[in-house]
Symmetry: C2
Subunit: 297 residues, 2 copies
């Protein structure tokens, strides 16, 4: 376990260096937008999505790492933009994220909107550039970009956000919570897995397995979030406990109880790891998945 923690810290540092290379320089007449974007991305995130993409790429035998870096950065930027827009006053209206002021609190609400737009577009700009001049085969890169776009959009993350926003403060049915879990969190995890697989040249059968494993991980991750909302503390999370409950939010725990929630996390976690084992050997990825799902903050 200690070994894993060291390895994890190193990998986060490594991914931060990659992300840094794809962030814009803060220069020019419009440098405030670059500053707001960089502030948003450098908010101390765990880099889960790019890390999963990289490790799945390795799992599937990928070895030309330069071809996967732009897609890792792009996916993290898409994740970052979604947080920046989620935090806006008209959305969740959060002043803090990970113990730090949110983007719109520092740069103003207009630049919260624009920084999010800038990050989302920048993600595609990076990927499109990688297609026309980067390492690797264009067909594989186009497939990776397409799955990221699909999973990030209205049939993926944005769709999940929309339902989440629309139903805020209302009691949710099981079907509605399932929809939000699968799309709002699960979709980008699926994008990470599939993009990693496609870039490594995986076949269709492996792609199906990757998507299934990712869906389980995303779902379990979200259940864990709901569990932590009940059991966590401000110190551990960097945000007030029960912040999701301030609007009377239905969670997995309120629907199914704490015991079933813990059991479901456990079985989904096991199933996901077994799928990963059936594809190839990547112990770090397996530990990462368990660590994410069983985290205590």
């Amino acid at each position: 376990m200690n070994n894993f923690k060291t390895e994890l810290e190193q990998e986060v540092g490594f991914i931060n260096d990659i992300i840094e290379k794809f962030l814009p320089d803060e220069t020019g007449i419009d440098k405030k937008i670059m500053e707001a974007m960089n502030y948003s991305v450098n908010a101390g995130g765990k880099r889960i999505r790019p890390m999963l993409m990289l490790e799945v790429y390795k799992l599937c035998g990928g070895n030309n790492f330069l071809e996967v870096y732009p897609f890792m950065a792009a996916l993290e930027f898409i994740h970052s933009y979604s947080l920046v827009h989620d935090d806006l006053p008209a959305m969740d209206n959060d002043d803090y994220r990970r113990g730090r002021l949110t983007t719109h609190k520092v740069f103003g609400e207009d630049f919260g909107i624009l920084a999010g737009d800038g990050l989302l577009n920048h993600a595609y700009e990076i990927m499109a550039k990688a297609l026309i001049e980067g390492e690797g085969e264009i067909d594989k890169k186009a497939k990776a970009m397409e799955i990221i776009a699909r999973k990030a959009g209205i049939y993926g993350m944005v769709g999940g956000q929309a339902v989440d926003v629309e139903l805020t403060g209302k009691p949710l049915t099981e079907e509605q919570l399932d929809f939000i879990f699968r799309l709002k969190t699960g979709a980008l995890i699926e994008a990470a897995f599939l993009a990693g697989g496609y870039l490594a040249g995986c076949d269709d059968e492996t792609a199906s397995k990757l998507e299934k494993a990712a869906a389980l991980i995303g779902f379990a991750f979200q259940i864990r979030d709901d569990i932590l909302d009940v059991t966590g503390s401000l110190e551990e999370l960097g945000k007030p406990v029960f912040s999701d409950e301030k609007n009377n939010k239905t969670t997995y725990v309120t629907l199914y109880g704490l015991e079933k929630s813990e059991m479901d996390v456990e079985s989904m976690s096991n199933e996901a790891v077994n799928i990963i084992k059936s594809i190839g050997n990547n112990e770090f990825l397996e530990e990462l998945v368990c660590n994410l799902i069983n985290r205590n903050k």
Copy 2:
């Protein structure tokens, strides 16, 4: 001129049909986001950008029209998202656009943000899908997507919006106004021209010409906007006259006067048309450009 008007109306109808095909169906748990997106796109726009892309594609000898349609729709969606976000309370705070309630006034501010995000992402989803399964050569399509992403982002339209927002209510220098004109309006016109050219397989020299012509058109278009803000009327524009001046905005007219503004529009218009003539023969495109720049609403 009557012929042109008829042709123009037909072409707008034709492009509306294309755009319609790429809009999402309003179904599913998250149908409200689809409704907000479709409302935003169907706001009676003139479809200038996709029309220019199509006509430049023809100018450069393109004849496999199916390959250009997804990019036309995508560019219009990017334009639409920028208007939806521009209209938000934290930005320009406009309740009306083209005489109709803005998206956030109808669907709420949260769905104004999300519909914009959805449209921006949907644009890339359409293009990425066109890359992996659509008509035409993948290399040309990737180049078209890359230029659209670059011109739409922080080094293009978003950069222009950022400076525009940051300097709202402050007197602008000539350099600042130039920056805003080139990026906020010009960038997407350049994207339309270059994407049309790339998809038709144009060479580098032609691409340079296209970019130059588009920059002139975008700039002249924006000057005309400022002229109309002085000389137009509510009935003609569908928004209050001087709406851009409510925040004491510096415009081309306030900086250079009406006479020089008219002269500059004229000379830029002529130069753009001459560049187009030097590339090939497309009388409709020439008339379209003149019509855009010399419009009275």
